[in-house]
Symmetry: C2
Subunit: 320 residues, 2 copies
């Protein structure tokens, strides 16, 4: 069994090659540029881990892991266009550097290249493609729903959860599941692994929302309150709006509309008055517990699950 770190290194060695032809450089240089700015490659490594949970890692798992990472990068390039994001991981986004039309096409060829990788798969091919397509569609749905939410004043928690699932969790879940399928896992085990990933993904997003508001800037490594400044719908804001008193509600709305200098401090005060911080911790713990129960329920010897338990601890920590 390999740890996340070991597999991460192995995957990088495999993935850090040229994925596109030389010409036309006006199309493929932007695509290569974006792959070059890196990332944690969490999803493809999860595919390898899902595979190794059941068997020795197969070449097919590397093909699917590569396809997953290419797909993920396709979504990032297109999301950055939609979000008009100037930077990603401190580097210029593709559309900032090369223009929107080229970014659009660079994303398109990245998606096509993902399918080219899938075409190398020898076993369980149709099942793999089916899961991949379903997940790909869901990620697009999540992005659309997220954009729909931006135009809405009020979003219900269930709807937000559904969006997060589609936009973030299903790809994590499917990465594990695809590895499991390639490892010969039965339906039941593969489903449990999927649910482990799906719940872990939601817990991770709750944590992300929490840290943006309540995180220690030094430990967290980025400015606190960004979501609040941008009036971003988060688990915290949605919950706060649903439990706040009429007075707190109108103060929140006032702060969001008028953006005073002390907006972050004031919003955090209301969040704390509403017990949003404790609620978010509980919510995260709830999803971690469900995730770990699904991992527990997979019918393989416990020692094989160790890397996935460690990964869960690494991604979502109970101490904040």
């Amino acid at each position: 069994m390999h740890s996340f770190q070991e597999l991460s290194k192995q995957f990088s060695g495999h993935f850090n090659i040229k994925h596109f032809p030389e010409k036309p450089a006006s199309l493929y240089e932007p695509a290569d540029y974006f792959l070059g700015i890196g990332g944690k490659r969490i999803r493809p490594v999860m595919c390898l881990m899902g595979n190794e949970l059941f068997d020795t890692i197969t070449p097919d798992a590397y093909h699917v892991a590569t396809a997953i990472e290419l797909f993920h990068n396709f979504t990032l390039i297109h999301d950055d266009i939609m979000d008009k994001a100037p930077l990603r991981r401190g580097m210029e986004t593709v559309h900032t550097k090369y223009g929107e039309s080229t970014a659009l096409l660079a994303g398109d060829v990245m998606l096509i290249q993902a399918y080219e990788q899938l075409n190398k798969v020898q076993n369980h091919f149709h099942k793999v493609l089916q899961v991949f397509n379903k997940t790909a569609r869901e990620v697009c749905e999540g992005q659309q729903i997220d954009m729909d939410f931006e135009k809405m004043d009020l979003v219900q928690l269930d709807d937000y959860l559904n969006m997060i699932e589609l936009k973030t969790s299903v790809l994590i879940a499917a990465s594990l599941q695809l590895g499991a399928i390639l490892g010969g896992a039965g339906e039941g085990n593969a489903k449990h692994l999927y649910e482990f990933g799906r719940n872990l993904g939601i817990a991770f997003q709750v944590q992300d929302d929490y840290l943006d508001a309540f995180g220690d800037p030094e430990k967290f490594g980025k400015q606190v309150g960004g979501d609040i400044m941008a009036n971003k719908k988060t688990f915290l804001l949605i919950h706060a709006l649903s439990v706040a008193s009429p007075a707190q509600q109108s103060e929140l709305k006032d702060l969001m509309e008028n953006n005073p200098a002390d907006k972050v401090v004031k919003v955090l005060e209301i969040f704390k008055q509403c017990g949003v911080d404790a609620w978010a911790k509980d919510l995260k713990d709830k999803y971690i517990d469900v995730a770990l129960q699904h991992l527990e329920d997979i019918a393989v010897v416990s020692v094989r699950k160790k890397p996935l338990r460690e990964l869960a601890d690494f991604l979502v920590q109970r101490d904040y």
Copy 2:
């Protein structure tokens, strides 16, 4: 054997279903809307014709034909964004009606849905996916190169030909080839059919450029001179610039820069002085001849080729 018209009717019956789920409607209604505005469905029907050239049409051919039409619509939605086109077939484009971000995602799910159709294919699966992916990549390359050309003063004929091949011809060629592969055609026959389509596609584009300048507005059904007004690089302009005298060259450039009221008339005069009209007819005939020779070289009885010969006559006519 079926004619293009018969297969077109059969394909429409097969294709005119709902291709997407109900929800989220904000994503799938735009996708369905675009499919609903129709089109001649030439490419998928060519896939069926390529299939029937070798065998009775298989269910697989319908799956691939559907994938091709979905792919083609994906390229149209994204091209319309890049070209900022307000209308397509007299209807609002997706980005005009629903916004650019939604159009981007609607194109993405259209491409994913094409692969979902391909996943239904039972035989020759990997070969089909390989040809499809290669062609998809090439079409993106063609669009990028076309955009690159817009920023250039001078384009060489060979480079323009290469762009047209990628942007237009390869999908026509691959549609026929995919049908042939599914019909059990050997490498050689499939290759000849591909070349038939590739050369026919180029002839079609030469004709399109020709008609925009020299076509009879009543027969042609649209305003003549649109390409000239927009300074669009076409076979005609590229050839004219390469054979014109220094005086004609500077007059052409002057007309393109200053857009006088009599621009179309004046440019057409220079085109005629340079013999561009006769040259274009010859060029078209050359590609038709090569195309028909490849059709001739396919080792099946001549009677099976009749629908494809008729299609060639229908798409590219020698009388203009």
